[in-house]
């Protein structure tokens, strides 16, 4: 197996004392920042980018692998120990995890999350090792029209499949494309949207965009609606599990992994759908269905494994095609570009040593995470008590440091603020953030492929769909775009959500929704979230009810 020998070489690069130290530091920083409420994995990676500037590329990517897994685990710790779910991917974990924590089983919830994440990360990274060389081989044979089609598919998929409102997704996409246009045209050297400001000629740094949208936008948005109630944090001891917990956890881990990985690898996969599916599956297969909603360990083990497997899955299109499919992968791709690597299938050929070292460090980061985080759980729990003013002041502080450090220029800080205000408005008016960030990163690349394609075809527009693969992809795009019409025609008035509810036994209250809007969200994030929350029996919902009372 060629891939295995490459992987062994990767381990040889990654396992030096210095690199192991970077990986451990990455895991600790990633978990510490990820645990802080309000900071998801994408913001964790964006905020910690500047720390890696000074390192050489190998050490930086190795540290990144640690930050990546640390940030993910930090997020699930928050959702188990705090009584409100944060990122959409931890919503499902929070349901059972928080109930377990309230019954004094926080240590077991954290342990099944950590070990499940480890198992899922291990299997997911193995699948990445097996799949990546094969996909790269195929990807190297496809041409410019295919690349353009794949990128357009990524745009349409993240915009039209995820989220609750298509038009708002497209608004976000267009804003991102516009930001991506700023700078000098790569072919002719013409300035576009620079307004004579010399610092804009190089374009807006992707790091500044990511930090602006995730960190500044989020801080301003939280500031406008800061909850004045002190957070209700459940203390915990060292994370551990009993034999019975193990017996109940191992199958959900494997099933969650099987659900999460393929969804992560798809252009519009995301982790919301597989975590929700995993929850529903475990509820149905469990011998203790009555425990669901009251702290069933299967309901933490499955979704948490699924979440991590999905994260490993997103690395497949990111490393082989240069295609980010979730926010964290988008920020990591931004980091690649920052280090001067051209993402895409050639990455494996040109920077093979580096990519394999990164994959090896994913295994290392995953293992370190397990070793470090089981005993450190009580310390992470204490971090949750950080006073909110210090937490968000700290985010503004480090976001400013990061944006300034890119070019040592205050112009970047002003751009950071403008993009932060944009991020604020997007959160206020329900514009999803992901399409914008993906458009900023992929927009210029898609333009490059489009112009290359039309150059090859001598301006003949049919050159865009001159290959079979491109034709198939455009067909898929058309189906996604026309899906609301198609589904209405196929189901003849049957409500897609109602059907799903009949299948899973989960009640749906969305039916009074305007039919057109509801048809747009059969499996979207909003749908999954509202359905899961409704799955909770009312008697255990006391915390949330108190919250919503004025």
């Amino acid at each position: 197996m060629e891939a295995l020998s490459d992987l062994l070489n990767g381990f040889a690069t990654a396992i030096t004392p210095a690199n192991l130290a970077w990986a451990a530091l990455g895991v600790l920083l990633g978990t510490a920042v990820g645990v802080l409420p309000g900071i998801g994995p994408a913001m964790t990676v964006a905020l910690l980018l500047p720390v890696t500037y000074a390192l050489d590329a190998t050490a930086a990517l190795i540290m990144f692998a640690g930050i990546f897994y640390g940030g993910m685990f930090g997020g699930s710790t928050t959702s188990i120990l705090l009584n409100t779910p944060g990122e959409s991917t931890s919503v499902v974990t929070a349901i059972e995890g928080n109930q377990m924590a309230r019954q004094g089983r926080a240590a077991q919830a954290l342990a099944t999350a950590a070990i499940g994440s480890f198992v899922a990360g291990l299997i997911g990274t193995m699948l990445l090792v097996l799949l990546a060389p094969y996909i790269v081989k195929v990807a190297l044979k496809i041409g410019a029209p295919d690349y353009l089609a794949i990128m357009l598919l990524a745009f349409i998929a993240v915009t039209a499949v995820l989220g609750s409102s298509r038009i708002r997704g497209f608004a976000s996409l267009a804003i991102g494309l516009m930001i991506g246009l700023i700078g000098i045209d790569f072919q002719t050297g013409q300035q576009r949207l620079t307004f004579g400001i010399p610092q804009l000629a190089d374009g807006i740094d992707i790091v500044v965009v990511a930090v602006g949208i995730f960190a500044i936008g989020e801080t301003l948005w939280v500031a406008a609606h800061l909850s004045r109630r002190p957070a209700d944090i459940i203390p915990t001891g060292r994370a551990f599990m009993s034999r019975d917990d193990w017996r109940r956890s191992w199958k959900p881990w494997l099933r969650g992994t099987a659900l999460g990985f393929p969804f992560g690898a798809l252009p519009a996969g995301g982790a919301e759908i597989p975590t929700f599916l995993s929850y529903v599956t475990e509820k149905r297969l469990s011998k203790h269905p009555e425990e669901f909603g009251r702290g069933a360990i299967e309901g933490v083990a499955g979704p948490e494994a699924s979440n991590n497997a999905s994260a490993a899955g997103t690395l497949v299109p990111m490393l082989t095609l240069g295609l980010p499919t979730n926010a964290t992968a988008a920020v990591m791709l931004a980091a690649f570009i920052q280090y001067g690597f051209e993402p895409g299938p050639l990455l494996f050929e040109r920077e093979g040593d580096l990519v394999w070292a990164l994959i090896a460090s994913l295994f290392i980061g995953n293992t370190l995470l397990l070793i470090l985080n089981l005993p450190l759980a009580p310390i992470w729990a204490r971090l949750l008590k950080t006073p909110r003013p210090y937490l968000y002041a700290g985010i503004l502080f480090f976001a400013s440091v990061g944006a300034y450090a890119v070019n040592a220029s205050t112009i970047d800080l002003m751009i950071l603020l403008v993009i932060g205000l944009l991020g604020f408005a997007m959160r206020r008016y329900g514009l999803p953030v992901l399409p914008a960030i993906i458009a900023v990163i992929l927009g210029p690349r898609a333009e490059l492929w489009m112009r290359r394609t039309l150059q090859l075809s001598n301006g003949e527009i049919s050159g865009l769909w001159s290959t079979t693969l491109a034709k198939v992809i455009y067909l898929i795009i058309a189906i996604i775009l026309l899906w609301p019409l198609i589904s209405r025609f196929l189901l003849r008035g049957r409500h897609p959500l109602a059907e799903a509810a009949a299948e899973t036994g989960v009640p749906v209250e969305d039916q009074e929704d305007d039919e057109r809007r509801a048809a747009n969200r059969p499996v979207g994030e909003g749908a999954a979230r509202s359905r899961v929350l409704e799955a909770e029996p009312p008697d255990t919902d006391g915390g949330r009810d108190e919250r919503s009372r004025p």
Partner: protein, 167 residues
């Protein structure tokens, strides 16, 4: 006119449409200004994609306005520390922006250790922290430690300002 006002009330989301339309117009105007000359290689010039994006922005602005006027609205984002039952707290937001801008103005003049401390203390104050001894102390400590870690440890230059040589 009053019917129109009635219809527009509570529809601040139309502002998003206005913003999108303005951005679309901006992109189109900028694209029209790009000369298509001999430097162009291939059939597609530097203005083509901006035109597509500009038209898309205008189109989306119209469709979004239609959706809003028909009663559609975006769902505000939720989070761990967010309580949407109160109206927006603009005072906090403006104070935060002021603290952010203070750092922008000060960083090249008095150096990062001071401007960063002002940023942190100002932001903590804006968010409601009122420990008049602890807040500035934390701000200064964080700022100085960050400066030392970045400039000494990581070799990333942050301006020292008048404290050059002291730190």
């Amino acid at each position: 006119v009053s019917a129109l006002v009635q219809r527009l009330r509570g529809r601040s989301e139309l502002g998003v449409s206005v913003l999108l339309a303005a951005l679309g117009a901006l992109v189109l105007v900028d694209a029209s200004r790009i000369p298509t000359n001999f430097t162009q290689r291939g059939p597609v010039g530097p203005a083509a994609v901006p035109v597509v994006v500009g038209v898309a922005l205008l189109l989306i602005a119209v469709l979004l306005a239609r959706d809003v006027l028909r009663g559609g609205h975006g769902e505000s984002e939720m989070g761990e520390d967010i309580d949407l039952s109160h109206p927006s707290d603009w005072r906090t937001v403006l104070l935060l922006i002021a603290a952010f801008l203070a750092n922008v103005v000060l960083i090249d003049r008095v150096g990062f250790p001071i401007s960063g401390a002002v940023l942190f203390w100002g932001a903590a104050y804006a968010l409601g922290s009122r420990h008049f001894l602890r807040d500035p102390l934390i701000a200064v400590a964080l700022s100085v430690v960050t400066y030392l870690v970045f400039s000494r440890g990581l070799g990333i230059g942050l301006p020292a300002g008048p404290l050059e040589g002291v730190l």
